[in-house]
Amino acid sequence: MSGGKVSFKVTLTSDPKLPYKVFSVPEEAPFTAVLKFAAEEFKVPPQTSAIITNDGVGINPQQSAGNVFLKHGSDLRLIPRDRVGSSSS
């Protein structure tokens, strides 16, 4: 089974034009690599980006690309991560 590749179509949802890119990676590649490539291609910081499915389900990038492909398919979205904490004044 090793040596196979999986492809993902990642859409940048923060851009109203909804640009997308297609990435092909080895199945065993960590999904963090897909997140990093996608963020770099769209020129957004990978540390403050996350990938979710088309239905909006969050994907933990600490798993293999093959795993993500099997569980969630290939149609994904790149969104910015919110980080919140400041007390309101």
Binding site: V57, R77, P80, D82, G85, S87
Partner: protein, 302 residues
């Protein structure tokens, strides 16, 4: 019991008996569980599914989990970690109307506990609001009997994020902010709960999400976490008029630093309806910020 011993002959089993009386049964049943398995272990899910089938119980909701068991001696079924005043529940009930004329209201279903800044002797003022929103959401899953996993502390939330590889070990004990994505990871890891995330490009677009949020409250009924513009909120309901576009959001604010006093909470607006645009023209959701909405899904499981 024999099966447990046979499967793991050298591992000590932690058997415990629980009594259940789901509504559709005429008599209570007793089930013996090996507590070595966590609730979301696939093996235990399969065992419960078989039991549901044998007892002709619905197969899409938990009824035989440890959390569903009859409790005989417990005075307070809500295991609150607070050493002082009990945490308030369902603080939205009885609050003033939203003010939206001809609106359709959709609210959270069931009970939750109000978690906010400074509870449990923890000074999280300025950094812990998303953590508190997560605690409120987990309390909802507990009170709806989906789990008896205790509501995690801030440290336990951080440890979970480190254990799944989302954060470095230096994160534990820090005052680092988290957001909707981290909440979804913790809910998945600790409770096995899936969440949907709605990304809203600008606060000005929040009213456009009212229909979807109303659908969420109708079908799922769980509290929603809103993260964006540096603030976290818990959303408990929506009131909107689809013809006029007027909308109001029932917000439970985790930034409250006072005591467990319902009057103070109501008077200070810490739980109440907030219009997208107030009568003075002030925006509640900022147009130049994006927002992530976390919609926890009821597990269709046993």
């Amino acid at each position: 019991m024999e099966r447990s011993a046979a499967e793991k002959p050298f591992k000590p089993v932690k058997l415990c008996s629980y009594h259940f009386c789901p509504l559709s049964l005429f008599h209570p049943v007793t089930i013996i569980y090996d507590l070595n398995y966590g609730e979301t272990e696939a093996k235990l899910v399969e065992a419960r599914r078989l039991l549901h089938h044998r007892l002709a119980l619905p197969s899409d909701r938990p009824m035989l989990r440890v959390a569903n068991a009859l409790k005989f001696n417990e005075v307070d079924p809500i295991s609150s970690r607070s050493l002082e005043a009990k945490r308030l529940v369902d603080v939205h009930i009885g609050s003033a109307g939203s003010g939206v004329a001809g609106g359709q209201t959709s609210l959270v279903e069931g009970s939750y506990e109000y978690y906010h800044y400074l509870q449990d002797h923890l000074d999280d003022d300025g950094w812990g609001c998303a953590y508190r929103s997560l605690q409120t959401i987990i309390s909802w899953f507990r009170l709806q009997q989906y789990t008896n996993v205790p509501v995690p502390s801030h440290r336990e939330i951080q440890e979970t994020l480190v254990s799944i590889g989302d954060k470095d070990p230096s994160f534990i004990g820090s005052r680092e902010w988290i957001g909707a994505i981290e909440l979804s990871f913790v809910l998945d890891k600790l409770l096995g709960v899936t969440c949907k995330i709605l990304n809203v490009r600008s606060g000005a677009e929040m009213p456009d999400k009212c229909r979807e949020l109303a659908m969420h409250f109708t079908t799922q009924g769980s509290p929603v976490m809103i993260g964006g513009g540096v603030l976290a909120y818990t959303l408990l309901g929506i009131d909107y008029n689809e013809f006029t576009g007027e909308s109001s959001f029932l917000i439970l604010d985790p930034h409250y630093t006072g005591g467990e006093d319902l009057k103070t909470i109501r008077a200070g607006g810490w739980c109440g309806w907030k219009r997208a645009i107030s009568s003075t023209g002030q925006e509640f959701f900022l147009r130049n910020k994006f927002y992530n909405l976390l919609l926890p899904q009821r597990p269709s499981t046993v």
